[in-house]
Symmetry: C2
Subunit: 472 residues, 2 copies
């Protein structure tokens, strides 16, 4: 456990046990630093995490206080208040967002902007050997038309691993896709028609907004807290709108980094099942948990076949292979038909190679390495953000993945920061591309996967730029 996590846990525990009560002042940063003999930075980081979870709040000129927790009734009231303002939005021209997304994936920039994983730890030579050995072992299968559902060897391996995510799938339940983006598109196409409305956790992963626009769907953005989508708001929204699907990244959300607790996943699945609304889960980050266990999929709590589970090997192994999968539940036949219609099936040699890597390549060992790697990278990146950005910055405290969500004071314009950073050769993802509404202007997303001397320096530059923006 990292030092700041220990600090954070201790304080959190004291609050839960009533040592510090709602509205009460907790030790100052310097005070706790002396008490616990840790650095000021460590305490700052611990407090930022607790603040991010909504456990404590900063009051200007005064210090940190345990959040005045609203009563359950008050919470619901507030949620409904939020919800009545949520109307289905068509995704109009998002030229600006598209331009931003294209800019920040420019490989000549310092790579804080895009969402791509770091594949330095991928055992390329081993994977390559398997690409070759499997094509030799199955010469016919490697060159003949793949079945739309995908190679059984691979589906069996994925089914075996589903236990890790709390499921017990059969090979028959799984359809291989050309990456998770294709899986998500298939899911949406299987359950929605143009004009339908979908509910989705906000801030929204921008690639979803592209797909939704392309399909002519409408969006209901559900606000999120430290544990993912606000279910009170969702409950209100699906009662008052004909919602045809709900989309979630429950495990290590992109961009928020949040992990939806098990109980809440169960509640989410039950809530949607009552109205027979399909739940589409993107779980590409689930295997990147920093802890030793990966969190369960929402599919683990689904007994009606309403969850369409989507994932891939792009964040863990080789994005260039374009191999993902979908577990479409009761929509399987339709998804297989759509897959066949779109591109017949997924490329065979890469399917066979990944099946072999899962069988004999030491995938679990590899996962452990990259989990440790990303935990380290993300901790360094967080510390750098807290050290370099002006006071008032808050940054997410993810327990998996490599994405950080940075929140600046309300009046901050992260789009200006994005523009100025670009001039300095640095890419960041401004908050505005994660919504159709006028939100998150004070936020931005950074990618911690490539943390290095270079990104450290870029962070210093960002800190200066942000300081100037605040003072100008």
């Amino acid at each position: 456990m990292l030092l700041y996590e220990e600090v954070s846990n201790r304080i959190n525990e004291m609050i839960r046990q009533g040592t510090y009560r709602a509205g009460e002042r907790i030790p100052s940063i310097r005070g706790l630093s002396r008490q616990m003999r840790v650095s000021v930075n460590t305490v700052m980081e611990a407090y930022a995490g607790l603040e991010n979870l909504g456990v404590i709040e900063a009051r200007p000129q005064s210090g940190y206080y345990v959040s005045a927790s609203l009563s359950k009734a008050e919470q619901r009231q507030a949620a409904v208040q939020q919800a009545v303002e949520i109307a289905p939005s068509s995704v109009g021209s998002r030229d600006m967002a598209l331009q931003v997304m294209s800019c920040i994936s420019d490989p000549s920039l310092v790579p804080l902007g895009g969402g791509i994983p770091n594949t330095d730890l991928t055992p390329v030579a081993k994977l390559n050997r398997m690409l070759s050995s499997e094509a030799r072992r199955f010469p016919r299968q490697s060159i003949s038309y793949p079945s739309p559902q995908g190679h059984k060897l691979l589906r069996v391996q994925i089914a075996k691993r589903s236990l890790n995510a709390g499921c017990s799938l059969a090979a028959e339940d799984i359809v291989i896709t050309s990456g998770c983006v294709e899986a998500m598109n298939l899911a949406l196409q299987a359950v929605c028609r143009p004009g339908d409305a979908v509910a989705i956790g906000s801030p929204v992963y921008p690639t979803f907004l592209k797909s939704i626009q392309w399909m002519g769907l409408k969006v209901l953005e559900i606000p999120s807290n430290g544990e993912g989508m606000n279910l009170d708001v969702l409950a209100y929204v699906i009662k008052s709108n004909p919602v045809k699907a709900c989309i979630t990244i429950a495990n290590f959300n992109n961009p928020l980094g949040t992990l939806m607790p098990e109980a809440k996943k169960r509640e989410l699945v039950a809530l949607l099942a009552k109205q027979e609304i399909p739940l589409i889960e993107d779980d590409v980050y689930g295997d990147l948990a920093y802890g030793s266990n990966r969190p369960p999929s929402t599919r683990a709590f689904d007994d009606k076949g309403l969850v369409l589970y989507c994932s891939s090997f792009s964040k863990t192994l080789a994005p260039g292979y374009r191999v993902g999968w979908i577990v479409p539940g009761r929509f399987r036949e339709k998804v297989v038909q759509l897959k066949s219609l779109l591109n017949v099936g997924t490329s065979s040699p890469v399917q066979l190679a990944i099946a072999e890597f899962l069988t004999n390549g030491g995938y679990d060992h590899h996962l452990r390495s990259i989990r440790r790697f990303y935990a380290r990278q993300t901790a360094q990146a967080r510390e750098s953000v807290l050290r370099n950005m002006p006071q008032g910055v808050r940054v997410s405290l993810p327990e998996g993945g490599y994405i950080l969500w940075v929140e600046m004071p309300e009046s901050f314009d992260s789009f200006k920061l994005y523009e100025e950073a670009l001039q300095k050769g640095i890419g960041i993802a401004p908050g505005t591309i994660f919504t159709l509404a006028d939100r998150y202007r004070n936020c931005f997303r950074i990618n911690a996967a490539f943390w290095s001397e270079q990104t450290e320096q870029a962070m210093e530059t960002l800190g200066e730029l942000a300081g100037n923006l605040i003072n100008s």
Copy 2:
């Protein structure tokens, strides 16, 4: 040149030179067999081919006559007559067609039904070596996200080969796709919106009908003659309907086997260009010409960027790799965006392997082998059809590819034949799946790619079944 082709060419030449004039009787089958010292079967085949091209016609109890060619004016009149009956059709539920397509691709059947190529001649070991060597040579590129447009190495090779199809493309003009089906879908999505009408040569390749249904488009089926789509009908149809795209398989059409002559391609491109209607060409069979030169693409005659050219390596090399491409002309940017949205990009290792095969694998040598192979297979299959099917059968005489279109007398029910053949473990593709209208019930398609002792026997069985159907 095969013997029946020589016979056919001689008679055709005599007709063109006026030795036999329109309406005049030509030698009887037995007569010509004696005159030219060839078998009766050879003459029958030659005459069937000429009849198929509309050059001669059989009159019951009387013999063969040079077709009474209609005057140009009469032809146009007839075309317009046909055209006024063509109304845009929505693709409703095509469950029956889907079921047929799924049945005939069952690998346990004698494979006359599906449209898949024979990959026995693919140098699997060499391709496999390249899969491995290229992944080793470009380890980063093979595992990192591909660019949506595809690897430049591959695009350069495709551009170089475009000279064969009468084009002179640059790598920039090309977008790599996961097979030709994906390329066609991208093309349709780039130029059409739900509700739009597209004109398409009929009989229609059933996969197109699936895509068109999925996209919510309407279809205008343009009848075809021995040289492809009837352009007089097309001209009338695009004048009287807001057609948003035209789709063609100009080279060795599936299912008709027809090759659109160069002059007609030029005319087709010009006709559509006048109204700025995009032309989507599927050219997967172009490289399978039996002659030494492959025919040009319609893209060769396009100077407005209105042709969206689609092809793949699935019919020539390795369908399991799922590598194709599109040359989207003026719609390039949109196609790249759509490709990125659908599945980010095409799998990298297979792109790199095919690029290397095109560079150093002897692709041209390989193409020459499979061209010869398919020419032989198709000739044998044709002969078998003519030998085994009841009198009155006509079969296409393709100059490339491996598909044969069999026409039985008007009253014949090929769907019944399909059903009875299934019982005997034989797959054929009944004509009704190639249209939304009530047409081609007397026709069926067979795949000559896997011609063997087994298919010979299956053809005998089909002949018996057909005979029984006629006599019942």
